[in-house]
Symmetry: C2
Subunit: 209 residues, 2 copies
């Protein structure tokens, strides 16, 4: 297809598509003449992925570049690709150098060890969790494994489901797609459902008060 059709089918302007090509997010089409290139279904699928990461995941172009570079490098294992994605997504919480933060980060590391989870030392989610611990303690909410247990169980159930959703023998490109979607989009599905469920639970408990 020509770039105009690619634009129609992706819902993106020709200008945006050319920008993504320049930034290395989208491979060039195959030149059929000096002024025309042909695009195919893989271009369309890539554009849809970029749109989703941009619109829903709210990721900057630089983060998408890192993810795409890892997707295109077959030597990167699926698990490493997953870790790269998480790293690109952030958020990169700036860890302050104070004793409260250090204590919280040590608690996170102890929790991960206690759960027996295989998670890289530099996973941004460790800092994200430590950051919430600091704020919760400042507000007078102590953190114990018992308080965290419902969250741990929910997170584990959902993650098992997500990884299990990738059928054995699925081609690498599709698997990558599925992992990205789990990380970026289904994370927001969980957040949205959590808020809806909270409102429902609040209504049943406090609706009359």
């Amino acid at each position: 297809m020509q770039i105009s059709e690619l634009s129609d089918r992706s819902g993106l302007t020709v200008q945006t598509i050319k920008f993504y090509i320049r930034e290395g997010l989208l491979p060039k089409g195959s030149a059929v003449s000096a002024t025309r290139s042909e695009y195919d279904g893989r271009h369309l699928e890539r554009l849809r992925l970029i749109s989703a990461l941009r619109e829903v995941g709210d990721l900057p172009v630089s983060a998408i570049q890192q993810i795409i570079a890892a997707i295109e490098d077959d030597r990167v294992s699926l698990h490493d690709l997953f870790a790269t994605t998480q790293h690109a997504i952030g958020p990169h919480v700036a860890a302050p150098h104070d004793p409260h933060w250090r204590a919280a980060r040590e608690d996170v590391d102890a929790l991960v060890r206690e759960l027996g989870w295989d998670v890289g030392d530099r996973a941004p989610a460790r800092d994200l969790l430590a950051h919430t611990f600091v704020a919760l303690r400042r507000l007078g909410f102590p953190i114990t494994l018992r308080d965290l247990r419902p969250y741990v169980n929910a997170a584990r159930d959902v993650a098992e489901h997500e990884i299990g959703r990738v059928a054995a023998g699925t081609p690498r490109a599709r698997t990558v797609h599925s992992l990205l979607v789990s990380t970026v989009l289904y994370e927001q599905v969980l957040t949205a459902l959590h808020r809806l469920a909270q409102e429902d639970a609040s209504s049943r408990r406090f609706g009359k008060s």
Copy 2:
């Protein structure tokens, strides 16, 4: 205590504290002379709440103003306060006027009805969920109640726990505190644990591939 001690204990500058007073986020201290005011533990608690909402929830001052106004108005029921908080927090997804979005929003409404959840029609989380549905479909991931079931169960379990955590007879101010913390901070706890659990599940499944 004087404002300098309030500053030390809250970790906020005197300038920031004065800004919060001007913006109506923090009540004035009681004047003990023309140039000195006294502050107490409630000021400190309020400042910690504001800090948490700002730093971890990343809420703008205007959203915090809405929340504080509802907290201070005893006529607002706890459930309404909770809905106000959710509204202030957003995110306010701009709903495009296209058929895909309308279909997704109808699916969300049908899902909420099917689950029997008591959620306001204008809850921002409905739009947030619809937005993810549109993106998932665009990427070729169909949405069925079966796919959503693990997320629904996780969200419900966590929300039940959160609302149940508020002991009967807890004073209103403390209850509000607890609800806000659940919404803003524990949501991030869940997100962070979800990512850690995903990395662990990915390692077990793809670690060698």
